[in-house]
Symmetry: D2
Subunit: 404 residues, 4 copies
C-alpha cells in the first residue's frame, strides 16, 4: 500500500470527505508579490543578490516560475511606483503571455520625500492631495491591468507625542480614502491594512484591525480589511481577529508571512506553523457554516504573500512560502468539525482541543503529492525548480536589481 492509499484509508476511517478536501486544495490560489522577487533588507543593510530582476517584466518572469512549479500562483501583486511602467496594458500582456494575471495594486505612499510626516494624513493639504492623487492613479492603473483589488498600507503615523493631531489625522485618513472609494468600479475592492508600528514608532494612524474595520464601515461594502499576519502586537490572537472579521463580512484577504518579534517578514510557516493552521481552521469553520455572508466572504478572500527575503534566494523563498501555505491549509482541511462541535457542546475541553490539533499532526505530503500529480505540476516544486536551469540562467542579470 502506498503512502496516499494509506492516507486515504486513514482519513476515510475518520469520516473525512476527501473529495471536498481535494477540490478545496486544488482551488487554493496564492498571489505572490512582485517585490518579493527583488532585493530587500533591514534598515541596517540591503544585501544584493545576483540574478535579481531588474524590471517589472523580469519580476513577472520569475513569478511565472513559481506558478509553473506550483500551479497555485497565477496572479501577481504589483507595487506602484516600484512597478511603474509606461504602458500598463503591456505589463498585463506580458503577464498573460506568461500564464499570469496582475493581482492587487499596492500604492506606495511612504518613499517620497514629501511623505516624511504623513501622506493622506499629512498636515499640509498639498501633500494630502498628492497622496490622494496617487491613490486615484492606482485606480486608473488597475483598469489597465484588469486588477480588482487594492492593498492599502499606510506608513502614516507619528514618532512622538504631540507630533501630530491624532484625531485630525483620523479624519484626514477617512477623507482621503473616500476620495478613492468614489471612483472605484463596482467590482473593485479596497483592502485596508493595519499595522501596530514601524515605520511610525509612537502612533500609527491605522494601528489595528478595529481602526481598519471602522474605516471599512464608513466607506462602504467595497472596503474590507486586509490582515497581514505580522502586523500585530506580541501575543495577539490573529485567528480570533480573522474569525471576527469574517463574521462581520469584512475580511478581504491576507498578507502572509512569519514573525517572531515584530514585522519580521520571514517565510510564512517557518516560525509558528500552528498559528497558520489555526487561521485556516477559522476560515474553514466559517466556510462550513453555510451562512451566505460568511461563505461569500471566504470565497472572495485573497491569499497573498508579503515578505522581505533579506537573505534568502528569492524564487526558492517564494516556492517554500507557497508550499508552507498549502501544507497548513491541507492539514486544516482534515479537521472534523462535527467532532469539534460535539466536544464543545459537552464542555469537553481536552476533547475539543484534540479534535483540532490531531489534524495538524497528520502528514499531508501524500495528499499534496497526489493533488500536484492531478493538476500536472511536479510533486516537489522546490526540487523541480532547483533542478531546472532557470535559476542559473538569471545570474546573467548580475547584481543590483530591483530593491526597496
Amino acid at each position: 500500500m502506498n503512502a496516499y492509499a494509506l492516507f486515504e484509508e486513514q482519513q476515510q476511517s475518520r469520516g473525512i470527505d476527501l473529495n471536498t478536501v481535494r477540490s478545496r486544495l486544488r482551488a487554493l490560489q496564492i498571489e505572490t508579490p512582485s517585490w518579493g522577487y527583488g532585493d530587500s533588507g533591514t534598515r541596517f543593510k540591503v544585501f544584493q543578490k545576483v540574478g535579481v530582476p531588474r524590471t517589472p517584466f523580469e519580476k513577472l518572469e520569475d513569478a511565472a516560475q513559481v506558478h509553473k512549479v506550483t500551479g497555485a500562483c497565477q496572479s501577481v501583486a504589483i507595487h506602484i511606483p516600484w512597478d511603474q511602467v509606461d504602458d500598463y496594458s503591456q505589463l498585463r500582456s506580458h503577464a498573460e503571455s506568461l500564464g499570469l494575471t496582475i493581482g492587487a495594486i499596492n500604492p506606495n505612499l511612504f518613499q517620497d520625500e514629501d511623505y516624511m510626516l504623513g501622506s493622506v494624513t499629512h498636515a499640509d493639504s498639498a501633500i494630502r492631495n498628492k497622496a490622494i492623487a496617487h491613490l486615484k492613479e492606482c485606480v486608473d492603473i488597475a483598469k489597465e491591468t484588469k486588477s480588482k483589488d487594492f492593498s492599502l498600507w499606510f506608513a502614516d503615523g507619528t514618532n512622538y507625542p504631540g507630533q501630530g493631531s491624532i484625531r485630525q489625522r483620523k479624519h484626514w485618513m477617512l477623507e482621503g480614502l473616500q476620495e478613492m472609494y468614489k471612483i472605484l468600479d463596482p467590482d473593485m475592492r479596497m483592502l485596508i491594512e493595519y499595522k501596530c508600528f514601524e515605520p511610525a514608532f509612537y502612533h500609527t494612524d491605522i494601528a489595528d484591525w478595529g481602526m481598519a474595520y471602522n474605516l471599512s464601515l464608513k466607506l462602504g461594502e467595497q472596503a474590507q480589511v486586509l490582515v497581514d499576519t505580522g502586523h500585530h502586537l506580541p501575543g495577539a490572537n490573529v485567528e480570533h481577529i480573522v474569525s471576527y472579521l469574517i463574521d462581520e463580512g469584512r475580511l478581504g484577504g491576507f498578507h502572509f508571512n512569519s514573525y517572531k518579534y515584530a514585522d519580521d517578514d520571514l517565510v510564512v510557516g517557518t516560525m509558528n506553523p500552528y498559528e497558520l493552521f489555526l487561521i485556516f481552521y477559522q476560515i474553514l469553520d466559517a466556510l462550513d457554516s453555510q451562512e451566505q455572508l460568511l461563505v461569500d466572504t471566504v470565497n472572495k478572500m485573497l491569499y497573498m504573500i508579503d515578505q522581505s527575503h533579506n537573505i534568502e534566494s528569492k524564487i526558492p523563498a517564494m516556492i517554500r512560502s507557497v508550499m508552507n501555505v498549502q501544507t497548513q491549509y491541507a492539514k486544516a482541511l482534515l479537521i472534523d468539525h462535527q467532532e469539534v462541535a460535539e466536544a464543545q457542546r459537552k464542555g469537553d475541553v481536552l476533547g475539543a482541543e484534540d479534535a483540532v490539533r490531531k489534524a495538524f499532526e497528520f502528514d499531508v505530503t501524500p495528499l499534496l503529492h497526489s493533488i500536484r500529480e492531478e493538476i500536472g505540476v511536479p510533486i516537489d516544486p522546490m526540487k523541480a525548480y532547483l533542478a531546472d536551469n532557470y535559476g542559473s540562467s538569471i545570474l546573467a542579470r548580475g547584481k543590483g536589481g530591483a530593491s526597496w
Copy 2:
C-alpha cells in the same frame, strides 16, 4: 514669593489660563472601587491584612475616608455579589450618610462554578440565561442604589484552540448584552470592558477595544467602551485608543491602574506616569475642540480606579492612586494646545514634542495644594490620613475581611 505665586507667574507668562485649569481640576472626580478596600492577591496567594472591611458597609466607610481627605472621590463602585446586601436602599442610605453615592455597578460573571467555560457565551443555554438574569438583576439593583452605569467585564474566553466556537460565542455575547440593554432606563449606560487575556489564555471573547466598540455600535447609544489601562498587549498605544473612541463618541470611562507586564493592577501612576499624562492630553485636546460630540463624551466619562492592592495598605493605596491621577491631570492641563498646533502645522517635530513634554516637567504641587486649600481638604491627603486615627481604629476588625 511663595511656591504658588511663582507657579502662577510662570504659567501666566506662558499664557496659560489658570482659571480654567483650576476649575477643571476642582471638578475632577475619581470613583473608587469597593473591592479596592478588601484583600486581593495573585493566583499564588492572597495575603490578609488586619483591618480590612468585613462588609459592604465597612467598605463604604473606608471609601469615605478617601473622600474626606481628597474631596474628589464621592462615588464608590460596587461589585455584585461581592457587595450583595439584603436591602440596597439601605446601602445607598449608608453611602449618603457618609457623603458618598453608589457609582457603577459591576456584575460578576466569573466566580460561580457554572461559569468555568463561559457565562453569556457558555455553550449551555441554561448557563447563558443564568448569566443574563444576573445582568438584569444588576439593573434592578442600580435602580435602588441610583446608579447609572454598569461596568461590564467578562472573563469569558477559551484556553485552547477548538475549545469553543469563536463565532458562536461572539453572537451569544451580543445577544446577552441586548437582553440587558433592553431594560436599561434611558439615563443608564453600559460600559463595555475589553481585555487581551487573563483569565482566558487562548482567546477572550471581548479581547480589544475594536470588539467592545463594535458591540456598542450594535447595542445603541447607551452602550460605550470602558478602557482599563492595564488590559492591552505590550506596546499598545492606549492614548491613541482613547483619542479614537472619544472621536467616535463611544468612550464611556476608565479603569485606572498601572502595569509593567500584563494586567498587574498596581497603583495608577507608579510605572509610567507619562502615559497617564498623555491620556489626559488626548482627553483635554478633545475637550478643547469645541465639537459638541467630543465635549459631551468627555464630560460624561467616568474616571474609576480598578486595582488589586496585593501588598499595600488599602486606604493609603487608594489615596496615593487618587493623588497620582490628580497630579497627571494637573500637568496635562498645562499643555498649551496652541503651541502644539502651531508646531504641528509647521512640521516642527521636536517643537511639537517639546510643547507637550514641557507641561509634564512642571511641578504641580503648588497648584494642587492651592486647590485643596480652596475646597477645604488637607493639602497633603496622605499625610492627613496617616496622622488620623482611623487607620488604627479599624485594626479591631482583625484579619480575614472581604477578599476575592
Copy 3:
C-alpha cells in the same frame, strides 16, 4: 504495508537510524508534578473538580495512572508544604508500591503570610532565616524520599520602584542559596528557576536565565538552571537559551507547559508545538556533539511538567501533556543533523531551514504506537485511560480536594 512499515521505509531511505531513535524514545522519562493533579486556577477563581485527590497519597495514586498508560512517568515531583506528611518514608513507600519514585522536591516560599515582601530576600533577617530553614528542611525530606533534585522557584521580588533594594536582595538570595548548598549530599542538585514576572510586578529577584546562571556559577557544580518554558518575556527565543546553557554545562532540566501571553501554564504542546520541537532539536544537537560535557549535561537533565489545569480534567490533562512531549521529541529525533550541517556550511539558508522543519512535518504516530507496543503500554494512552473505570471511581472523593 502498514503505517509503521511505511514510516520505517520512509525514514530509512533518509538515512535515519531508527535503532537510535527508538532507544532514545523508549528512554524518555517525564516527571509529573503532584500539584498538577489538584485544583488550580487564576487569581479570579479556582474552579473545583469532583474527584480531585485529597491527600499526597491520593495524588500519587493518580500519578500512577499516568505512568500505567504511558510507561514514561515513573517519578513524581512534590511540593512542600502542599505535600507535607508526617512520615516521608511512608510517602516514598507508597510511591514505590505504585511503581513510582519521588522526584524533585519543590520548596514553597510564597504562601506564608510572612513572605509577603520576600522570603530569602526579605528585609527582615528573621524571615530570611525562616526561609532558609525551610530550604534546609527540604534537604532533609529529600533524604527520606530519596530525591536528588530541588526545583527552586522564588516568588521574591517587588511591585514598585524603591520597594526593596535590588542589590541588597541580590546578595541575600546568594547567601540563602549558599546555606542550602552547603548541606547537599554530593549527588544532590539545586535547579534554580527564573521568571520574568508574576507574582512580583516590578522586579523579580531571579528574573531571567542570566541571573539563575550566575547564581549557579557562584554556588558550584551542583547548582544548575531550570528552564520553565512559560517564564520568559514575549518573543524570547527559549531554544537559544537552552542551547546556551547546555553548552555551559548548566542546564539542569525543564518545567514544560504552554503559553501564549505570559505564564499561562497550559498543557504543553498546545500553543506552539514547533517551539517544543525546536527545544528538542537543540538538545539532540548537543547530545550528538559527542562532547563529554554536553552529553553528560543532556543525560542528566530532568523533563518535568509544571502546569495549572484550571479547567481541564486533571489526569487526562497530564496524559495529554506527556503524549505531546513524546510527539515533539519523536519528531526532533528525525532531524538529519548531517543534512542540516551541510546546508549550514554552504550558507544554504532555505535548505538548512527545510532540513529541520521537514522532520516536524512527519507523522510520528506509527512510531509512538510501535514503541508503546514494545514497552507494553496501550498504544493510545488517553483512550485507554478514558476506557478504564479509574476516572469514575475517584468521583467518590467529591469536590474540594487539594488546591493552591
Copy 4:
C-alpha cells in the same frame, strides 16, 4: 524669591546636600555619536535632510555645536567605516581644535556583503578572519584617535531555525573577541552590546545581557557590558539589569535612546522618562554604597547617545537628547536614599515608592539653569542653538550627506 532660591530652600528642607547634587550634575558628560548627525531611517525609507554633514570632519563640527551649548558633550563616538579617513590623527586634531575628543570606536560588521550570514560567527573562516581583522584595525585606529573604548555591537544571528549552529556560533563569537582582547592596551575596554532581535529575526548571537556578561567573564577585566536601552524584549526591567551588572562590576556604559515597541531609537527621555530616572536611581544608589567596586564601576561608565534621527533635525535632536538625560539625572539626584532605606526596612511599600517617585516630580529646571550659568553655557541650550546662525549656515551643504 526666585525659582532657584525656592528650589534650594525646598531641597535643603528635605536634607538634600545640594553641593553634591551640583558637583555630580556638573560632572555629567554625555558622548554623542557621529552617526546621529547624519541621515538615518527605517527599512522603508531614509529621508534626506538639507544640511547633513558630508564628512567625518563635518560631523565633528556639528557635534561641537552641541558641546558649545551644553558644555556636556566633549567626546564623540565614531563608527568605522562610516567615519573612515586616511589619517585618524588628523581627525583627532580636528576634534581637538573644536574642543572635542574622539570617544568610543564602533566597528561595523554588518554592512559588507560578506557579512550577510554573520561576521565573527560566519560559517566561513575566511569571513570570520576578515571580521576579526576589522576589530583589530579598530584597535589601531583607537591608538591614533586616543580612544579607550570599543562599543561592540554584532548584528550576527540567524533568521530561521537550523540556519546556523547556535552552539558553534557561540564559540566563534568568543574566539573572535579573544583575538581582539589580546591586543588591547591595558587602559582600553571592550564594551559588549546585546540585542534581542533586528536585524536577525530568529536568534541573535548576543541576545541578552546574560550572554554579553558571560563573554565579559571569559574575556577578562577589560571586557564589560554595554546596555542599549532599546535592546530588550517588551517589559524588560532595564534598571534591574543595570543594578545587577554594576553589582558585578561589569557595566561599562550605556547607549541611550527611547523606545515604545522595539529598537525604535527615538530621542531619549521622550517615551517613558520615568524609566530613565529609575536607571539613574540604581546608578546613584550604587555610587552611594561606598563599596569600592561599585563606585569604581559607576565612575568609569560611559553615557552615550545612540539614536536614529529619522525625521528630526539632527543637531536639535541631539541637544534635546542631552537635555533630557540631564533632566532625569538631576531628578534622580534628589532621591533621599536614607528615606528610601528607612521605608524599606519598615516594609512600608507605599512610603518607599513615594520616596523615589517624589524626586521625579520636582521641577529641576531652576537647578539646571543655575548649573549652566555656573559653567558658562546658555541656560536654554536649545533656544540658544536655534537663535544662532549655525543651523542656517550648514544648509549650504545641501542634501545627500552621510547616512546609513
